[in-house]
Each structure stands twice: as structure tokens, then as C-alpha cells.
Symmetry: none
Subunit: 256 residues, 2 copies
């Protein structure tokens, strides 16, 4: 832990609070918006709500840990001696990344018998990605961070490749009004997931003793989490809503 | 209480937080997923939600007790003098294990008149199992821990034997798509319940003065609780959902 300026400390603190507020709002939205999709798409909405509830809990904890890790003295924030708990993010990802995969695969409506095996492969890859990233995250050694970062990138690329091609095939057979939603979801996925390795790389190459590299990491992860969980869930909702309208599973919306 | 390394202390702390997050997510899931099962299976879902709500409360308390029981000094965690409260787990089990039994027996849909008597026998056995385990848990004497541990194992084996045979008979008469769910539930039950005596035995045989034995106990119980309560509830949901689909009690899912 290194000393931070008041601006650096507050930037991270306020980003964490922004994430808590976003997750809380998203949770309320996904709970209530279940009434706006047909019964067969509700499982996907429920999973979206679990993702942001669990993330909201962790961001609340991360805020507390951030506050305890520093003490204000003469206008700068000095390490208090209590460690900042990096593990909250990794525990969060262990729970929420598999759920994010379930959310997408459910809304893709794959052929019977294909959903299960694909999810198993994706979830195993997700566990490897997160598990391999953690030893690097808690290390302050440049070589160690790079090694685990590169290893973690292999399952990361595998997951993105599977989702990219699956969203591609889903787009081909989709109704016109759903096509553009699938295309947007595909780009959102690449754009938000891409944030994580970039934030990790900045913290690695910026040096562990650099306050600004650590601030960049925390801010980067927070923005990425809000987009990859809350905004992504809204996209999944939009797809489910449009599908419900088209297939008549929400009769009241038939001519909306 | 013995001194712990920073890694040992954090491992237990993060496992406890993982359990809080899992129970919270599972609670939200069981509340919302009631809409995805027919009315006659909702009692079982309600009971699942109570189990994880009560467990979530206790894990939140256990986290607090863990934090208060240690103080960080020169990079190691020393006992603060405040006792770590083991009783939370036993109070939790007194409430949740009978509910877990109700949850399973409800979804088995036994012949009329059989459910009540079986539940009475199982709940009495559960109370004996938990009550006999506690004197051993709070003792640091090797002989005392072994004696109560063995006594507690007798009702433990009785419960597992009853559930194993009941799940076996239910499997025989079930529709093909439910058969595999029952089989998986049977294995999940053995695998997760098996964790508890193993964690207890490690703490007994590793010696009460050993930090790593205590860490193994806390981590083992936390993993076992998440699997035996949250994941097991998801299995019960899957059975109820599939039954509802087949018997037409959820018309909208009939052709899903």
C-alpha cells in the first residue's frame, strides 16, 4: 500500500459508491421488470438480478475495506496498516461470472441438449480465468503478475470466442428487431470484458508502488463491473422483452 | 485460540463472506423463482428460501465474531481475547437442518399419511445429531471431541440412510427427465453432508492448538453449508420446475 493524494483516494471511494448505487438500482429494475417479459424468459431476468445483488454486496464491502485501509493525515491518505481486501472482487467474480454466462445462454434459447454442455465448458473456463488471475493480483512482483495475467488470458479469450460465435449464429436466425439487439450485446460484451485485462495490465506495468496505477485498477474494474453486469443485464432484458412481444408470450404487448 | 498468519485469517474471512454472498443470492433466487413452479411445489421453495435467509444471517454474525476475535499485530493475527462464537453454527443448524429435511420430503410427494411420521423421526434424529455434536465442538480435549463426535454420527448416519432410500424409491417411479435430477440430488446429499464429519475430524485430529486445523474446520463448514443449502435448494427447484412442466401446473411452460 502506498500513500494517496486526497483526490486519488476520493476518486476510488466515489467510484465504489457509484458501483453500489448502480447495482442497487439494477437489482430493483430486474426484479420489477420480470413482469415485462414472458414466463419463459423470467429465469434469465432472475439471474440478472442475482448478479447485481451479489455485486452490490461486494461493492459495499469493498467500500468499507477501502475506508479502513487508509487514514487521513495532513491532507494525504496514509496506509492505516489494515490490508485492503482484494479478494472481495475475486469472490464476486467466482459467483457472478458463471451467472452472467447462464443469463446469456438462457436468452439465446439454444437447441435442446446444447445449453447444458456449453454452460459446463464456459463455467469451467470462467473458474480457470478467475483462479489463475488471483495469484497475480495479490502479488507486487512484476514477473509474477505478468505470468498469471497471461495464463488467465487463455480461458478469457476462449470464453469471448465462444460467446462471440454463439451471438453471431443467434443473430443470423433472429427476427429483424432482435438482430440489432444481439449485435449490440456482442459489442458490449467485447468492450466491457476488454476493460479487465487493460486495468490489470495498467496496474502491472505502472508498478505496484505507484498510487496512480492502483487508482487506475480500482476505477477500471468498477466501471467494467457496472457495464458488464448492470448494462449487460439491461440488454438481456431488451432481448427478452422483444422476444416476448413477438412470440405472444405477453399478450398485452402484442400490438405495442 | 491460536495465532494465525495473515493468509490463514483472510482465507477464513473470505470464505465467510463468500457464504454470506451465496446465501443472499440464493434467498433472492428462491423468492423469485416461485413463479417458475406450480402452486403445489411452492411450499418447498418457500422453505428453501427460509433456510438460506437464516444461514445468511448467521454467516453475517460469524464474520463479525471472527473479526472481533483477532487483532492484527506485526503482520500476524493474534487472539484479541474476545471468544469466537462457535454457537452461531449450531443454532443455525438447529433451525435449518429440520427445514432442509422438510424441503426434500415435500418435493418427494410421498403417499398421504407418510410425510408427517417420517418428518417427525428425521427431525428428532437431526436434533440429536446437532445436540450431541456441540459438546465436542466446544471442547479442546481430544477424547471428549472424539466421544461426542462418534455419538453424533449415529443419528447422522440414520438420517442419510433414510434420505438415500427414499430418494431411491422416488427415482424408480419418476419420469425420465426427473430421474436424473433425483440421482444427482442423492449424490449431492452424500457429498455435502459428508463434509461436516470430515471437517470435524480434521479439527479433532489436527489438534485444537493448531491454527491450520481450525482454518480447515471453518473453511470446510462454510463450503459444506453453501452446497448443502444453496446448491441443494437449486436442485430441489429443478425437480419442482420439471414436475410442474410435466403435470401442466405451469401452463405457460407446457411447450417450453
Amino acid at each position: 500500500m502506498v500513500q494517496l493524494s486526497a483526490g486519488q483516494y476520493s476518486l476510488v471511494f466515489n467510484m465504489l459508491s457509484f458501483a453500489v448505487a448502480s447495482m442497487l438500482g439494477a437489482f430493483a429494475f430486474f426484479v420489477m421488470a420480470q413482469n415485462l417479459v414472458g414466463l419463459k424468459y423470467r429465469a434469465s431476468m432472475i439471474v440478472s438480478s442475482l448478479v447485481v445483488l451479489i455485486a452490490g454486496y461486494h461493492y459495499y464491502r469493498i467500500m468499507g475495506s477501502w475506508q479502513e485501509a487508509y487514514t487521513l493525515s495532513n491532507g494525504v491518505y496514509m496506509p492505516s496498516g489494515k490490508p485492503f481486501n482484494d479478494a472481495y472482487r475475486y469472490v464476486d467474480w467466482m459467483l457472478t461470472v458463471p451467472l452472467l454466462l447462464v443469463e446469456l445462454v438462457l436468452v439465446l434459447n439454444l437447441a435442446k441438449g446444447k445449453t447444458g454442455p456449453m454452460l459446463v465448458k464456459l463455467v469451467i473456463a470462467a473458474m480457470l480465468m478467475i483462479g489463475l488471475g488471483y495469484p497475480g493480483e495479490i502479488s507486487s512482483d512484476f514477473g509474477t503478475r505478468n505470468l498469471w495475467g497471461v495464463l488467465s488470458t487463455i480461458p478469457f479469450l476462449y470464453i469471448l470466442w465462444v460467446l462471440w460465435t454463439q451471438l453471431g449464429s443467434a443473430t443470423e436466425v433472429a427476427a429483424p428487431s432482435i438482430k440489432s439487439l444481439f449485435i449490440n450485446t456482442r459489442y458490449l460484451l467485447i468492450a466491457t470484458w476488454g476493460f479487465y485485462p487493460i486495468a490489470y495490465a495498467i496496474a502491472t506495468w505502472g508498478g505496484p508502488a505507484s498510487g496512480s496505477a492502483m487508482v487506475a485498477l480500482q476505477v477500471g474494474y468498477s466501471i467494467a463491473d457496472v457495464l458488464a453486469k448492470a448494462l449487460y443485464g439491461v440488454m438481456i432484458f431488451a432481448i427478452a422483452h422483444e422476444k416476448s412481444r413477438l412470440d405472444g408470450s405477453l399478450p398485452a404487448l402484442k400490438d405495442a
